[in-house]
Subunit: 376 residues, 2 copies
C-alpha cells in the first residue's frame, strides 16, 4: 500500500496559516495515528483496530470520517471523558445475538468486535446480530459492513450519534444524528456492493463547501431555525438542522425521517444506548455520549448453493454498469464504485490533507508529546 509514494508538501495557495496542505502516504498516516493514540494512553490491543478503521475512511475518500475526525476526538477526549483503555464486555449472548458494552471508549474497537462476533455467528448458523451500547463515534459505518463482505458475508452496520442534527418532517427541532446505514454484499468477479449513506440528504461538509464558495444550497438540504427550507448556507450552518433523505415532504422526506428513526431503534433502543433526542431530559448527568451501534451479518452460503449468490450479484452489477447513461460521459455506477476509485488513487498517490487539518494535527501532536512523522 503506497510503498513507492513519499509524503509531499504542497503550499496551500491563498492561505496564511502556519501549516501547508500535505499529501501523505497511508503508511505515514498509519504511523502518525498510532503515535497519537499511544500518547493518549490507548491500549496497544485497540490502537491497531482503531487506526485501521479510521484509515478505511481516508483510503476510500471518506474524508469526513478518518483522520479528519482526530481534532474532534481530541476535544471529546476531555469533554466526554473518553475511556482510552476500555474493557469491551459481552453483557448478553446467545447463538444468534449478543450485546456489547463499549465501556465509554471510542467506537472503533467495540464496533469491530461486534461485527466480528456477528460474523462468527453468521458463519456458524447463517445469521448473527450484535448491538453495542456505551460507545462513541466509530468512523465510517461502511468499514464494518465491509468486514463482512470481505469475508463472503452480507454485512449491515448502523450507528446513532451523540448530536441531533436531522429534523423530522413537519418539525422545527433536530431529533436524530446523521444516523447512517451501511450495507455490503459480496460478489464474484466484482468488488462487493457497498452502500454507506447518512439518512440525511447531505452531510454538513457539503454545506460548508457551498458557504466557502458563496453559493446557495438547494432546497431540501437544510432548514432555518423555524424548520423551513433554507437555501442560505450561513443560515443552515447557524442552525445545524439537516433535512432527512428526500429533502422536502413533496419529495419523500418522511421516508428519510423514517429511516433515521429505524437506525435509532436498531442502534439505541436495542442496545440500551442513550437516545440523544431525550438525553437532556432523561440522562442530564451522563458525561459520555453513550452512542449505540448495530451490526448484522448473514451468510449467503446458508441460503443458496455455493457460488449462486455471488453469480447473481455479478449479473446485477454488470447489468447496472452496462446501463444506457443519460450522459455518455457519466456512466452508471454501483454503490462502492466511487470509494474503490478513491482507494486506487490514494494507494498510488497518497492521502491529501488540507492545510487547516495539518495545523490541527501538529497542535494535537505537540500537545500530547507524540512524535510528528508527517513531514519527515
Amino acid at each position: 500500500m503506497g510503498a513507492a509514494v513519499t509524503t509531499t508538501r504542497t503550499e496551500a495557495p491563498g492561505t496564511n496559516t502556519a501549516a501547508a496542505a500535505l499529501t501523505v502516504t497511508i503508511d505515514d498516516l498509519r504511523r502518525q495515528l498510532t503515535e497519537v493514540y499511544r500518547a493518549w494512553g490507548m491500549g496497544e490491543a485497540h490502537i491497531e483496530t482503531t487506526v485501521e478503521m479510521m484509515l478505511y475512511a481516508d483510503i476510500h475518500g471518506i474524508d469526513s470520517h478518518g483522520v479528519g475526525m482526530l481534532p474532534l476526538y481530541s476535544q471529546w477526549r476531555g469533554e466526554y471523558q473518553l475511556n482510552m483503555r476500555p474493557e469491551i464486555a459481552t453483557v448478553r449472548e446467545g447463538p444468534a445475538i449478543a450485546v456489547l458494552d463499549g465501556d465509554a471508549g471510542l467506537g472503533h474497537a467495540a464496533a469491530h468486535a461486534a461485527m466480528g462476533l456477528a460474523m462468527e455467528k453468521a458463519k456458524s448458523i447463517g445469521l448473527g446480530a450484535v448491538a453495542v451500547r456505551n460507545s462513541a463515534h466509530f468512523g465510517a459505518a461502511g468499514a464494518y459492513a465491509m468486514l463482512a463482505a470481505e469475508a463472503g458475508l452480507i454485512g449491515i452496520a448502523t450507528t446513532s450519534a451523540h448530536h441531533e442534527i436531522i429534523v423530522p418532517t413537519f418539525s422545527a427541532q433536530a431529533m436524530f444524528g446523521t444516523n447512517p446505514i451501511a450495507f455490503a454484499a459480496p460478489a464474484g468477479r466484482n468488488r462487493p456492493f457497498s452502500l454507506d449513506m447518512a439518512t440525511s440528504t447531505v452531510a454538513v461538509g457539503k454545506i460548508v463547501i457551498a458557504q466557502r464558495h458563496g453559493r446557495p444550497i438547494p432546497e431540501g438540504w437544510a432548514s432555518d431555525g423555524g424548520g423551513r427550507p433554507t437555501t442560505d448556507p450561513d443560515v443552515a450552518l447557524e442552525n445545524y438542522m439537516l433535512s432527512p433523505l428526500g429533502g422536502t415532504r413533496e419529495l419523500g422526506s418522511h421516508k428519510g425521517y423514517g429511516l433515521a428513526a429505524m437506525v435509532e431503534i436498531l442502534s439505541t433502543m436495542l442496545s440500551g444506548a442513550i437516545y440523544t433526542g431525550t438525553k437532556a431530559a432523561r440522562r442530564p448527568d451522563a458525561v459520555h455520549p453513550g452512542v449505540g451501534h448495530f451490526m448484522l451479518a448473514m451468510d449467503p452460503g446458508a441460503f443458496r448453493e455455493f457460488g449462486d449468490f455471488e453469480d447473481d450479484m455479478d449479473d446485477m452489477i454488470d447489468a447496472l454498469r452496462a446501463n444506457r447513461p443519460v450522459d455518455p460521459a457519466q456512466k452508471v455506477m454501483v454503490a462502492g464504485d466511487p470509494e474503490y476509485r478513491a482507494a486506487e488513487e490514494r494507494r498510488r498517490s497518497g492521502v491529501p490533507l488540507p492545510a487547516m487539518l495539518v495545523g490541527e494535527l501538529r497542535a494535537i501532536v505537540a500537545e500530547c508529546g507524540a512524535p510528528y512523522v508527517l513531514e519527515g
Copy 2:
C-alpha cells in the same frame, strides 16, 4: 370491526360508467374477496391469509395494495399462470434462517408463512431470517413487518417486483421494482413504529392523480425516456421511469438507488428469485414472475431486560410527537400514524371504492361466477 356499518352506495359525480362509487364494510369486503378466491380455485388454507393480508392494506388506507390489486391479480392469473393451489415448501432451514419456495402462487400466503417462521426463530434464539423465491405480489410490505411487531418483535420485510420501474442515478433505464422496505417495532403504551416505504420517491398513483388534475409534477418524481427529470405527468406515465428516493443526484438519489439495490439483493439474490433487470436476457422462458421476499424478525427481549426496549420506544415516540412543529396545524407524526388514523376511520365508516374499481370488481365476479356481495 365495522359491525354497525352497512355498505353504502354513492353516485360518483361526473362519471357515466355503469358502476357507482361504493363505501363497503370491512366484513363485506372480506366476504367478497373470499368468494372470488374460492371461485378462482385457491385452497381454503390460503384464502384466509391472502384476504387478511389484502385487508391490512384496505383498512390502513394503503389503497394501492389491497382490493385495488384484484384486477391485476385477475389479469396475472392468466398471463403469469399464477398457481392457485401452491404447496409452499421449505427448501432450506437452520436454527436462524430458512428459504421457502412459493410454488408460483400469489405472494401473500408464502410471505405470511416466511414471517411466521422468522418469528418462531426469533422467539427461540432472538433472531430469524427467511427468504422466499418463486413468489409474486404480496400486497403491502408493512402487513408482514406488523405481524412481528404485534407479537412484540421487530420485523423487517422487503420484496422485489416483477416489473422494473426505478431508474438508477445517471441511468436512462429502469432496473428495479418499487422495492419497498417495511420496518416495524413494538412500543409500550404507543402503537408500534411502522415504516412502509417504496424506495422510489413516490408511487405511480401520485403521478396519476397529478395527471387527472392537469397539474405538473415536481422535479424528482420521474424521468422522461432519456432519463432526464420531467415535470409532465403524461411524459412520466408514458415512460414509467420513477426516480429513486432523493429524486435528483443533488438531493441524494444515489442513496435511494442504493436502497432499491439493497432490497433486490435481500429479496432476489438471497432467495434465488428472478432479477427483473436481467430477466429478458437470463430467463426469457420464465412465465411466472418469480418474485422474491425477505423477512427478518428480532426479539428485543433477547437484547434488553423485559420492558426496557418498549419504554425507550415510548420515550422516543412521545418526544417526536411533542416536537415543535413548523406549522401548528400540522403536528409531527411517527411512522405508522397516518395508517392508524385511516384504520380507525375505516373500521368506523367502511372502505371507499372508486367507481372504476367497483366496475372492475363486478366484471371479475361475473367472469368467475362468484356471488357478488358488495351491494346487498
